[in-house]
């Protein structure tokens, strides 16, 4: 809801363009009625909500925090507060003073709005102080006609107020922590989760231990940090992990790989195409790492049996996994982040990205056939004995569970697609699906709970807090401002910049933290760049961050897992080898995807 609000700020900003001056709070009667109408509606909504909340409290018998507004609805000042990127600012302390006397105070809400009730009405002057950490404080003096209106028991609505960011020591400290976290992850010095936990702990330590020494070391409170954790993402990933845990134990991947060989009839080009599509489609619905974990061993066996270098099949497979994964909301962690933040549905991803992804796949197939042509020529027929062994391994091991998982999976896809019409969150769908499946197949519950990769969930929670701190101190605003100035309202330039910058950065920086940090920036650009309301820039981020994974060995977790298994079979994939084969693949797919998005939007 907050994000919807944020994304709609461009439109709102236009509405307020004639009256949004920094220091002036003027309740300008001269402003056109067209301009003022939308705000009145919002004010009415605010009042309605205010009354409704009071009603709920009184009916339920719960005593709300005592406020004078409970007693009467007179002497109210309403307003909205934004930052330099037109994002609502929550938690601004608004204090009303007449002389030295404090006659009212309140906090701004997540949507930036506030309702301030004044305790008394007999005063000659009234000043409102706006204070919040990481922003310059502002004072606004009310005009005599507004004071008169309040004294009559009326309500005054202020023009939207924009607070200016304050760059203090914590800005640099948090920036350094964030960059250090990215560097530690990229260098593999610590496990990703440990790196994110370390970043989060240092941020809390500075905020809580440094704050008593100096106000300038305050970052945010624990409660505030939790606002940045996207629980929709956490529960969606958790639900999908349980479903995947059931599917992966059915032997479906091994069966699919062996069937691919059978269908190809030993024609290596056809086998390559089928394997790439099988891997790609599996990656679109399951996570890429699981797909490659289970496809790699059987692919190596097929390649050895055919007498070809297994890397000539594995590399195209991992390319396909990274590229096709972005077709759906649940295909990659980055899409889950983007979908949740940008309010982009399962079907939105399908409609807007899948055609581009399929075109990129065609490019990838052509590229792979060309690059590995010499390896493919070495392919021979699989001897009968080896074929029997492969057939033994290519069996469905749990057909009943597979059947049930298939039905539940189908139901989940339908809910993902149609659930958006009833505002069904993807996380709820994933949890319903996971629970239904467990109730139906009655697995060992301990095993299923173990199947949830808690380290990954902790990674995401820690990451959200670190990125939240980065947002809190204003780094994201600085980046957003910089990119905003660079693209200067040019949508095409913004699209190209995000796709290619995202693509190249994802080759060296872990794409999940990168995407999480970029989301508010994309939100700002979506609200300010004309034509970006279609959320095209979110799709550009999805394409760049995911396809960028093909650029280097460390670009995606699926690459590292594939290399790990391949090495254990005696076929190591070095960093340089991956770069040599993967970087051109990145260029091919990014070019095609860029063209698609430019045509589509």
């Amino acid at each position: 809801m907050i994000r919807d609000f944020f994304i709609q700020q461009k439109k709102r900003n236009d509405d307020f363009a004639s009256e949004a001056t920094q220091s002036s709070h003027l309740n300008n009667k001269a402003a056109s009625s067209q301009v003022r109408a939308p705000r009145r509606i919002r004010v009415n909504r605010l009042l309605f909500l205010f009354v409704l909340v009071g009603a709920v409290f009184s009916v339920s018998g719960i005593q709300p925090v005592p406020t004078h507004a409970q007693e009467d609805f007179t002497r109210l000042i309403l307003g909205e507060i934004f930052d330099g990127q037109d994002a609502p600012v929550e938690g601004v302390e608004i204090i009303a003073r007449t002389g030295d006397e404090r006659i009212g105070e309140t906090l701004s809400q997540p949507d930036g709005t506030f309702i301030l009730h004044l305790e008394k009405g007999n005063f000659d002057n009234l000043t409102l102080d706006f204070q919040r950490a990481h922003f310059a404080s502002q004072s606004v003096a009310l005009f005599p006609q507004e004071i008169a209106q309040i004294q009559k028991g009326g309500t005054v609505t202020l023009s939207p107020l924009t607070l200016t960011r304050k760059i203090g020591p914590v800005f640099w400290i948090v920036t350094i922590i964030f960059i250090a976290m990215l560097a530690i992850i990229a260098a593999g010095r610590l496990h990703n989760t440990l790196a994110a936990l370390l970043g989060m702990s240092v941020i809390f330590a500075i905020s809580y231990l440094g704050h008593p020494l100096s106000d300038k070391l305050f970052i945010f409170e624990f409660e505030r940090s939790l606002h940045y954790v996207d629980w929709n993402v956490i529960f969606l990933i958790m639900g999908m992990m349980i479903v995947i845990a059931v599917v992966e134990r059915t032997g479906i991947f091994q069966w699919l790989a062996f069937q691919s060989y059978k269908i190809s009839g030993g024609r290596i080009w056809l086998l390559l195409i089928i394997l790439m599509f099988v891997t790609g489609i599996a990656s679109a619905f399951l996570d890429n790492v699981t797909t490659m974990l289970l496809m790699t061993p059987i692919t190596i066996q097929i390649a050895i049996a055919l007498g070809i270098n297994p890397l000539s099949l594995l590399m195209p497979e991992v390319f396909a996994s990274n590229v096709v994964g972005i077709s759906t909301l649940v295909g990659t962690p980055t899409n889950i982040l983007i979908g949740s933040y940008g309010n982009i549905s399962f079907s939105d991803f399908l409609v807007n990205l899948t055609p581009g992804v399929l075109l990129s796949m065609l490019g990838l197939i052509g590229y792979s056939l060309y690059v590995y042509r010499k390896d493919y020529r070495a392919a021979g027929e699989i001897p009968e004995k080896m074929l029997e062994r492969l057939a033994e391994r290519g069996q469905i091991t749990a057909p009943e569970n597979l059947k049930k998982a298939g039905w539940v999976g189908l139901g989940m896809i339908l809910l993902f697609v149609f659930g958006e019409h009833i505002h069904l969150l993807p996380s709820v769908t994933a949890l319903i699906g996971a629970t239904s499946l467990m109730v139906w197949i009655k697995p060992d519950i301990e095993e299923m709970i173990e199947a949830v990769d808690w380290t990954t969930l902790v990674f995401f929670i820690s990451l959200f807090v670190v990125v939240g701190a980065v947002q809190e101190v204003g780094l994201i605003s600085v980046i957003a401002d910089g990119i905003g100035k660079m693209v200067n309202g040019n949508l095409t330039l913004a699209m190209i910049l995000i796709i290619w910058l995202g693509g190249f950065l994802s080759t060296v920086v872990a794409n999940i933290p990168f995407t999480a940090a970029m989301l508010p920036v994309i939100g700002f650009l979506t609200a300010t760049v004309p034509g970006a309301e279609s959320k095209v820039l979110f799709y550009c981020l999805s394409v760049g961050s995911a396809m960028g994974g093909n650029g280097s060995l460390i670009g995606a977790s699926a690459n590292l897992v594939t290399a790990g298994i391949s090495e254990r079979a005696g076929y190591p994939i070095s960093y340089v080898y991956f770069l040599k084969k993967g970087f051109p693949a990145l260029i091919v797919t990014l070019t095609i995807a860029t063209l698609w998005l430019l045509i589509r939007f």
């Binding site: 496990h191 992990m241 992966e248 974990l293 061993p297 699926a558 590292l560 790990g564 254990r568 005696g570």
Partner: protein
């Protein structure tokens, strides 16, 4: 009635793949020369999962790795049998390579251990140069096991 002592064991530590070709060839040559029983020994581990973000279901991963190793070992077994080695076995274990190999050497009472020198596996579950020599000395002390380290050229 004459009593014949059982053929000695040659333990060949191998992963499969191109890099193992010389090691396997050398082990087969020696098995034929010594009329020894040849055991291809493979240790699987999932250390690489530390680098992954999702999907760390070890049971499933180990099963997939086991199947892959089993397939590779069967191919090596076929190759040794075709060359004329009479008794060929395969052993696949999970865990730390040094511990598992030491255990297998003791269990089989191997007379010779043939080990390759992986050239591109930094940080993974393979022997590093210094470890290799230490391990060879240690085995020699425990059970008079001779260790042959095969380089890229097969020697």
């Amino acid at each position: 009635m004459t009593s014949t002592s059982p053929s000695p064991y040659i333990l060949c530590l191998v992963r499969g793949g191109k890099e193992s070709k010389n090691t396997v060839t050398k082990a087969i040559d020696l098995a034929l020369e010594m009329d020894a029983r040849l055991v291809f020994f493979h240790v699987i581990d999932a250390e690489f999962l530390n680098q992954s973000m999702m999907g760390t279901r070890l049971k499933v991963v180990y099963q997939a790795l086991y199947d892959m190793a089993d397939f590779a070992m069967e191919i090596l077994k076929d190759r040794a049998e075709r060359r004329g080695v009479k008794e060929v076995e395969t052993i696949i274990r999970e865990g730390n390579i040094v511990k598992q190999l030491r255990q297998a050497a003791i269990e089989t009472q191997a007379k010779l251990l043939v080990i390759g020198r992986p050239i591109r596996s930094p940080g993974s579950n393979v022997f590093h140069d210094s470890e290799l020599l230490n391990f060879a000395n240690e085995l020699a002390e425990i059970g008079e096991v001779e260790v042959l380290i095969v380089g890229d050229e097969g020697e």
